[in-house]
């Protein structure tokens, strides 16, 4: 029983940052129609900002997380303005550009911080607490903090999209770019905002996970694979679908990894994605495109 509950806890904690990654990716794709392969590198950049500011320069952890969001958001804005914008009408060009950005950011991290052992980032809150007095089940404090920040950011992001004019504009653009443009919305401006927000969320995900994972230049690889699976299962373009799929996929993966094997979990995760594509090609909450 304890093992089942501990696995539930592990999965819940993990799902929050996966959801944070996925909604940013969905937003960027929805507004810009760019499959951003460099999204994992935004996550990596966020983790390095926390390493640099918190672990190396003693900035408070929460300030470092905010700084990571802002810095990675700005990186996103620059990339959009310089690289993605000129490729606006060329989806393949945007995709190739994002792969280029992926390598550039990896090399920048490698040159700046080295490629040796993982960076040592001590947790702000070491240790764990038993879950509701269950001695066999523990909730690590640092993971709880990461979970809390991720949930707050997701709620804030959802409120922003649902309750603000800018949020409505972003959703409108994600639903139908041409119709949004005909309503007088600036697609370039919305793309800039989407990129800044999406990158900032990925940066935040990297920042909150930095004390819990291996921080090295290629950390984005496994993360982006998971994020892609999640947005395909959730329905490309659906923010609610991304969150739902993040939770379902992470629970599935964590339980299989615990009770069977991590490698089997990754293989079955991909098969799950294929199954969803066969049964519901638009994903769990996605809408099929009109032909």
């Amino acid at each position: 029983m304890d093992t089942v509950v501990q696995t539930l806890v592990n999965a819940l904690m993990q799902s929050s940052f996966v959801a944070l990654m996925a909604v940013g990716l969905v937003l960027i794709f929805g507004v810009m129609r760019v499959i951003n392969f460099a999204h994992g590198e935004f996550y990596m950049a966020g983790a390095y900002v926390v390493f640099w500011l918190y672990a190396q320069h003693d900035l408070p952890f929460f300030a470092a997380v905010v700084a990571a969001m802002i810095i990675v958001g700005i990186i996103g804005l620059i990339i959009e303005q310089l690289l993605f914008k000129p490729m606006r009408e060329n989806p393949l060009g945007g995709l190739i550009m994002s792969i280029g950005v992926l390598f550039i950011l990896q090399v920048l991290a490698a040159v700046t911080f080295g490629v040796g052992l993982m960076k040592h980032i001590p947790p702000l809150y070491p240790g764990a607490t038993p879950l509701f007095g269950m001695d066999g089940v523990s909730v690590p404090w640092q993971r709880l903090v990461a979970f809390g920040i991720a949930v707050l950011l997701l709620i804030g992001f959802w409120l922003f999209l649902k309750r603000t004019r800018l949020g409505w504009a972003l959703r409108a653009c994600a639903q139908d770019r041409e119709a949004a443009a005909l309503q007088g919305m600036s697609i370039n401006r919305l793309a800039l905002i989407a990129m800044g927000l999406g990158a900032g969320l990925a940066g935040a995900a990297g920042a909150i996970m930095a004390p819990l994972v291996r921080v090295y230049p290629y950390i984005g690889g496994p993360v982006i694979v998971t994020a892609f699976i999640v947005i395909v299962v959730g329905g490309i373009g659906s923010l609610e679908g991304a969150v739902l799929a993040a939770v379902l996929y992470t629970f599935f993966h964590t339980f299989v990894a615990t009770y069977l094997d991590g490698t089997i979990a990754s293989i079955l995760g991909l098969l799950l994605m294929l199954l969803v594509l066969i049964v519901r090609p638009a994903g769990l909450l996605g809408k099929g495109e009109k032909v």
């Binding site: 093992t3 696995t7 040592h120 038993p130 994972v213 993360v223 991590g262």
Partner: protein, 423 residues
């Protein structure tokens, strides 16, 4: 009438002052080989970057210290000549193809006389090339050895054979521990180590209740640890895992409130692990690699000059960078120096013959035998004593030296069986 130019007295004074200044400036300065002096180059071919760098870069850095010490003492004496030492490094990123490129560069362009390697993934093609070139090379992983690797030696480490000493010590000193869970990384480092631990646990009468590999792409170790702890083991065995993995596994064991015994092949940068967990949590953990400031490193059977001083020097020059294997590469280089002086030559085959002479050699932890025919088909591994190391009050402490061949003579068949089962 005023005299033009230098007087004899002025000349003598100036020359003496200049000579004094030059001599004074030489003290404490790193050695730079001058044109007329003979130089012998030693190659270092290993992963200086990437996730395995922790088992190569500290060793390369230690070799630089060793070379400086040798050169400061006048170099290597070969007949009437003194050879200054130069370390030439090549970062193979632990990739087979880059390793072969590096091997060719070191041998054909740099003309090195010995190549120090970590071994494992990056070794096969490079070692094949070395054998054809009759180049002497060394590994820390004797699983590289085959009957065909004639000049490839494992003179410092016999991974993972020495892991048996930790289990044997644990069984004798904590007989109440009856079950063990093993998690291992799924690669050529992990596989033979699992076979060794399985054999050692079986020999010690400890039941293995969990034994699974994890993918080396694993990012979240919580499920791995949850699965292990579900079996309520008395001992958690981390096998041979990359330093980052050992760090994260220990952290997860701490977070999931594990209070039992831990055993691991390595525990690199354990100060960082203590910072993430606690001194109490790591207390009693058994592993196999000592710090060289350990008092037990001063015992008379140790073949390493001033290990305590070396440890201090290393940590001054490369702070917070001592890893499990730091000492092994300079220890091999020092063995090579002694053999070269004995052979009166730096040529690889002459040094090789001197190293193997008499079937015994000066292993760091005591004189040992060239051994391995039974396991790898060739007696190219120097095997003898190995330390069992325990974390005591937050510090790595040698608790005992044990003889690997003694264990093999009693339980060798078990290891052969488990090695065959692991494929």
């Amino acid at each position: 009438m005023a005299k033009k130019g230098f007087t004899r007295r002025q000349f003598t004074g100036t020359a003496a002052a200049a000579a004094g200044a030059v001599a004074a400036s030489s003290f404490g300065a790193p050695y730079v080989a001058r044109g007329a002096e003979k130089v012998v180059k030693l190659g270092f071919l290993g992963p200086l970057t990437g996730e395995v760098a922790g088992w190569a870069l500290p060793g390369r850095n230690a070799c630089l210290i060793w070379a400086d010490q040798v050169n400061a003492a006048g170099g290597i004496k070969i007949g009437d000549d003194n050879y200054m030492v130069e370390i030439v490094s090549y970062d193979n990123e632990y990739l087979t193809d880059k390793s072969l490129i590096g091997a060719k560069k070191l041998v054909l362009e740099d003309e090195v006389k010995l190549v120090l390697m970590l071994g494992g993934t990056d070794a096969p093609a490079a070692v094949q090339f070395f054998t054809k070139q009759k180049m002497l090379s060394t590994t820390l992983l004797p699983s590289d050895l085959t009957p065909d690797t004639l000049y490839h030696l494992a003179p410092a480490e016999v991974h993972p054979l020495y892991n048996v000493t930790g289990v044997e010590w644990l069984a004798e000193n904590r007989p109440e521990l009856k079950t063990a869970a093993i998690c291992a990384q799924d690669d050529e480092l992990g596989w033979p180590s699992v076979a060794t631990y399985l054999a050692a646990f079986e020999a010690a009468g400890i039941d293995v209740v969990y034994n699974k590999y994890f993918d080396i792409a694993t990012t979240d170790f919580a499920p791995v640890v949850t699965a292990m702890l579900a079996e309520n083991p008395d001992i958690v065995c981390l096998d041979t895992a990359y330093p980052d993995f050992v760090n994260l596994l220990c952290e997860q064991l701490f977070l999931q409130d594990y209070k039992g015994q831990i055993i691991s092949c390595t525990l690199d940068f354990y100060g960082r692990i203590i910072e993430k967990t606690s001194t109490e949590f790591l207390e009693g953990l058994i592993f196999q690699f000592p710090d060289f400031d350990d008092p037990a490193m001063n015992e008379p059977h140790i073949n390493f000059e001033n290990p305590n001083e070396f440890f201090v020097n290393y940590n001054e020059r490369f702070p917070d960078a001592w890893s499990a294997v730091t000492w092994e590469y300079p220890a091999i280089a020092e063995m090579w120096r002694l053999a070269a002086e004995k052979a009166g030559s730096v040529e690889p085959m002459d040094v090789f013959a001197a190293l193997k002479e008499g079937g015994r050699g000066p292993h760091v932890f005591g004189d040992a035998d060239w051994w391995g025919e039974e396991l790898w088909g060739i007696d190219n591994a120097l095997v003898g004593n190995w330390p069992v190391v325990q974390i005591q009050n937050g510090k790595a402490t040698i608790v005992e030296y044990r003889n690997i061949i003694d264990w093999w003579n009693k339980h060798g068949e078990l290891l052969k069986k488990h090695t065959a089962e692991q494929g």
